[in-house]
Symmetry: C2
Subunit: 524 residues, 2 copies
């Protein structure tokens, strides 16, 4: 790792590297460009045109700016951030269906229409630290949020807590019985069996071995961890358990193993965080650091021409007039499907790479309510309800607890379900969101509604997708031309990373492109 100083992210990285004793995870080393890189050798910083003011594009301009590059960022939309899009009162969105929505949310209310959570290991947090973006906890897992599996026969929602208890209980009972009956003697020593049985007792909250009674040994019969119908209170009120357990056939019949195990995913397990007041605090802080004068909004790119000595980028300015930028280098951060539609001379290998991606549809709706009935009536403070309705997930806000109202994510779905909602008009999406939500939360899901705002990323102009499918994976050879320069043109975006759809992918990809460009600029 680096000899000399270097600010910000490197600092955090060095912190991690220093701690040789026990820290077991490190960020990929990265050396940001430094002011002295050009001043010391007496060279002039190069001019770079960045296509797209999403997180990757802004990060490129920000990092290059550390060494004094002359950057210009060209952005088709009237705001920075790309899919990092926070909707507030007054936010307008026109989609490719011809529908325009303007949010009427109350003051202080917001809806993160794109990314909405950051895992604690992600480099996104280092940018938040460096840029001074305040963070708070995002609740990704809530024991009291619901599952609603209508197609598997649920007639009312069940708490994650209760289902989890029943599944852990039954697997513990079954494995304890099998172990105790010697079914696994070939695989385990007597000591292992003892410690396994000890673990299962705690993990499944199962009963003890009962001598001469195999059936009733190690039995799972529910317990407080499933929840209560009436909570324990003062002496004399020990509480009424929300029992008994569901049957083994019922609970495993729901087939929610994948959804339940979400809570232990590398990307999804707690702790996760969010910027205070909306995710767009990140692109706004990046844009401020880059300098507003270097970002051309409402300026869709029309062509990219790689020349031996320069790159020419044509775009239409905010008045629709054609304009051209000449630069030493270009970093293209538009989604690959959008890039592929530009006029360019980057060659068939680049075009094949760009067109190999396919797009994952993703749709969301923000539902603003006059009261926080999910807190008062359901005792749910943040987290996610999982459904097998076409709604997909429902998210409860992780902030503003006990305030007069708030914004739920009324659906968050992908693929076919997201395409279904993309085809609907906004009022139809809302009606469908409410009809589904009422099944889970009861009438207040409809009656307390104040406002709504929906997004279908597959019909969002200049984006046209939630994120990318990467056939064969990011390291597949077809993408190699996108991971080196095509002449003077570099590429960056979460679609060129191992964390597609996460800002971590955008940032690490931006760092990679910046590193390659910068070392070339220094060498020439």
């Amino acid at each position: 790792m680096g000899q000399a100083g270097g600010a910000g992210v490197l600092f955090a990285t060095m912190g991690a590297m220093d701690l040789a004793v026990t820290s077991d995870s490190v960020i990929q080393p990265y050396h940001p460009p430094r002011p002295s890189d050009f001043t010391l050798p007496g060279k002039k910083a190069k001019r770079v045109v960045v296509l797209g003011a999403g997180v990757a594009g802004l990060a490129c301009a920000y990092e290059l700016g550390k060494a004094g590059y002359d950057c210009v960022v060209v952005e088709a939309q009237d705001h920075v951030g790309g899919r990092n899009f926070t909707v507030r009162g007054g936010t307008k969105h026109a989609d490719l269906n011809g529908d325009t929505q303007t949010a009427a949310f109350g003051a202080g209310r917001y809806f993160n229409a794109g990314p909405a959570r950051i895992a604690q290991w992600m480099i996104t947090l280092d940018y938040c630290r460096e840029l001074g973006v305040p963070l708070e906890v995002f609740v990704n897992v809530n024991a009291d949020a619901y599952f609603y599996q209508e197609q598997s026969g649920m007639t009312k929602p069940a708490r994650r807590r209760a289902l989890r208890s029943d599944m852990y209980g039954y697997i513990s009972e079954l494995l304890a019985k099998a172990t105790d009956q010697g079914a696994l003697d070939q695989q385990m020593s007597a000591d292992d069996k003892d410690s396994l049985l000890n673990f299962l007792s705690n993990f499944g909250r199962i009963g003890k071995r009962i001598p001469n009674d195999r059936a009733r040994s190690w039995q799972y019969t529910g317990g407080p961890q499933r929840g209560y119908n009436t909570w324990p209170g003062a002496t004399g009120t020990p509480g009424v358990l929300a029992g008994p357990p569901l049957s083994l056939s019922t609970v495993f019949g729901y087939e929610i193993g994948e959804e339940l195990s979400f809570e232990t995913d590398f990307e999804q397990s707690m702790v996760m965080l969010q910027p205070v007041g909306g995710m767009d605090a990140i692109p706004l802080a990046l844009a401020k650091a880059v300098g507003a004068e270097k970002i051309k909004l409402s300026s869709p790119v029309t062509s990219v021409t790689n020349n031996p000595d320069r790159v020419s980028v044509a775009y239409k300015d905010a008045n629709g007039a054609p304009q051209q930028i000449e630069a030493d280098f270009c970093i293209a951060t538009l989604p690959p499907n959008v890039l592929a539609k530009l006029t360019h001379n980057l060659g068939p290998d680049v075009q094949r790479g760009l067109t190999t991606f396919t797009q994952v549809a993703a749709s969301k709706i923000g539902l603003e309510y006059k009261s926080r009935w999910w807190e008062s009536d359901h005792r749910i403070y943040g987290g996610i309800t999982e459904t097998d309705l076409d709604l997909g997930q429902i998210w409860y806000p992780s902030d503003g607890f006990h305030s007069p109202g708030g914004v739920l994510v009324g659906y968050y779905n992908t693929d076919d379900d997201a395409k279904t909602y993309a085809r609907l008009r906004p009022p139809e999406r809302l009606e469908r969101a409410l009809a589904g939500g009422v099944k889970i939360h009861g009438p207040k899901h409809r009656t307390e509604l104040a406002n709504s705002f929906s997004i279908a990323w597959s019909v969002a102009p200049f984006i046209e997708g939630g994120w990318q499918n990467i056939p064969g994976g990011p390291q597949a050879p077809v993408f190699a031309p996108l991971n080196t320069a095509a002449g003077r043109v570099y590429f960056a975006g979460d679609w060129l990373s191992n964390e597609v759809s996460w800002q971590h992918g955008s940032f690490t990809s931006a760092q990679k492109a910046v590193t390659a460009l910068h070392s070339r600029a220094l060498a020439t």
Copy 2:
């Protein structure tokens, strides 16, 4: 439930009751006293003396105040809250060992020496709503916090994430093999087996069935959910997994089933919350609502005398002068071991109840650091590290992320370990906390320290214990005399509830005492 209105908590309760459709949990019904209770019948509100300005005592005075009772609260310490005690710069604490500490924490830094988390189902939250105490998420479970089981042979800490993965993986592999080999055919249908195997695949991230290869079927071999040594980044950097799994013998040999299953406990599972800026926001808000003029601080009670027509309470005022209060009723909320030492005429059954409790020792230290190295170096944002050192737990702060420094809970232990620390002088406690912490976090646990403040509840004056052991449980007959009036004297506190050590217990017990007292006052 109630015919007429009633404010605050009842409101929340009625909300819960209204939602007949799907809500499956309700708060125990409670009818707070109302102003009209006395004005309508033309009666005069009674005078009540409350012993102790902890959460239970303040809640009693607050609830009685709603109907205009003339309350006076007598408190031995110079601040309200009892064990709900938040330490900030300038906070002073003198203990029964003769040691006095004054905290030197920087501005905005705090340490919750007593209760520090609130589960989302707890009635404590309804009081926060009613009193306007702002809340934020408290991180109780963090996949990246550590386990350090020195006595079981760990030589360096392991992430919860990795241990959890290995344990879930092995139990899934073992149960899948046993199921597939027919060991459980008597207990499950073929359909059940299929859905169980499907669940185990997801839950344990195990491999598939491999035809004609039992040993390698359903095998657990680790995976991303265990964590990475180098995180996935840009294309070309897929990440380096954090090693192969530990062996089955090793991971179950740690015997951490109980600590791991903490995350699914009824009381401990997420979501949990904390008041912004310190837990004492709750007693401070209660005290403000009660009225400072009704709370006598630095006034230890010396005797309680029950008379046919009144209660007489003797205490020493802030100048040490003996004083006496006469009231219609008394609610005694001091810890039972402290109450038992007062001069009183409440009879042998009351005294037997009070002396049946035994005290659980609990100790904590707040360690203020100049930097948040646990975030930058360890990527830990809140949560708890579990150890088998006498430290017990180490807690990371859930707020102030990325700020220049912060306060860790350097140990939180109970019983014998807590008594060990209670016997030490504060500098000795600190040294022991640092020596243990360095084993887990490396040298910064010592070198970055700025200040510390320790509490040992067993030697805290007027409290003398962390919380109460309740032999036979709260409903045991020996406690019955404490759960009805002894003449004109009522009792309240978390020790008279089914949630001992939680503020929820204090509040529900206070509501019970207030309800009994009020219905008697209305009837006479």
